[in-house]
């Protein structure tokens, strides 16, 4: 139960950060991506602020074998820059620029009752499910 409460609180803190930073406003996201037009640099500061804190946390995490609560510490082990990584990022970036939503802000906007955000989340989950199905077929064909 202690863990569930801490996970809930981290989700809440992350959601509040998205709202305060302006990430939940797709037109602001698109304003940041519009470097050839009228450019709103705000989201570079979102990234900068997050990494300034995250850098120290991950430097500490790399030195440990268990987390502060004594449980497992799951750090990614893959270091290969491969085709799926790049193609996936291309598809994701195209979708991000098209609507101005990435997964976190879309969830926050869905919770605040916006119909278009709800539609986005439904199609996003469908896209994830489609990947699961194709991925499973590819694995079973081998």
């Amino acid at each position: 139960m202690k863990h569930r409460i801490s996970e809930f609180l981290v989700g809440l803190l992350f959601g509040l950060g998205l709202i305060l930073s302006g990430m939940t406003d797709p037109s602001k996201v698109i304003g940041f991506l519009d470097i050839f037009g009228l450019w709103d640099p705000s989201l570079a500061l979102v990234m900068g602020g997050a990494i300034a804190v995250g850098f120290f946390a991950f430097a500490l995490a790399k030195k440990r074998t268990v987390n502060f609560l004594g449980g497992a510490l799951h750090l990614p082990t893959s270091s290969q820059i491969d085709k799926p990584l790049v193609i996936g990022a291309v598809l994701f970036g195209a979708g991000w620029g098209l609507a101005g939503f990435c997964p976190g802000p879309a969830l926050v906007s869905l919770a605040s009752g916006q119909i278009k955000a709800a539609a986005f989340v439904v199609f996003m989950l469908a896209g994830m499910q489609l990947f699961e199905m194709l991925g499973r077929r590819a694995t079973s064909a081998q």
């Binding site: 305060l20 991506l33 470097i35 037009g37 991950f58 995490a61 799951h74 996936g88 990022a89 896209g127």
Partner: protein
């Protein structure tokens, strides 16, 4: 390039970014996990026993954020959400974001925040790639068609 000074919110965005960093820090140090929204969601679509509760707790926390922010943050600080895309674009964008984040193993949070924070070359390539595509799409939509 012209700076949009009217919409530029340096302090709010920096403050919000610091909260995102603190959340990512707490998640790896206390829960032992990378805070990546697309990965957390995808795990709920193909649930494995013992691997569901933490995902639901986290997603409920995110869902509670707009209600808590209405209580604790001054209303004039919060940007109104304006969605310019129509439903057809929303549908295509949703599919691309869902499929792309799974294929590329992460999104803005997992690669952009956590990956860059831990100096992962993989995440640097992913982040530069999705940002480039974001710039390109907005250029095409706003200036080329």
């Amino acid at each position: 390039m012209t700076i949009d000074w009217i919409h530029f919110t340096p302090w709010l965005s920096l403050g919000g970014g610091i909260l995102l960093g603190l959340a990512s820090a707490a998640f790896i140090l206390f829960n032992g996990r990378i805070l990546g929204i697309s990965g957390i969601l995808a795990g709920l679509l193909s649930p494995r026993s013992g691997d569901v509760g933490w995902r639901i707790a986290f997603v409920l926390g995110i869902a509670a954020a707009p209600f808590v922010s209405a209580l604790v943050l001054p209303a004039d600080l919060i940007a109104a959400s304006r969605i310019e895309a129509g439903y057809a674009s929303i549908a295509i964008a949703g599919l691309l974001v869902g499929f792309g984040t799974r294929y590329g193993s992460g999104c803005t949070s997992g690669h952009g925040v956590c990956g860059l924070s831990r100096l992962s070359p993989r995440s640097l390539v992913a982040t530069l790639t999705f940002m480039t595509l974001g710039f390109f799409m907005v250029y095409v939509i706003r200036h080329a068609i």
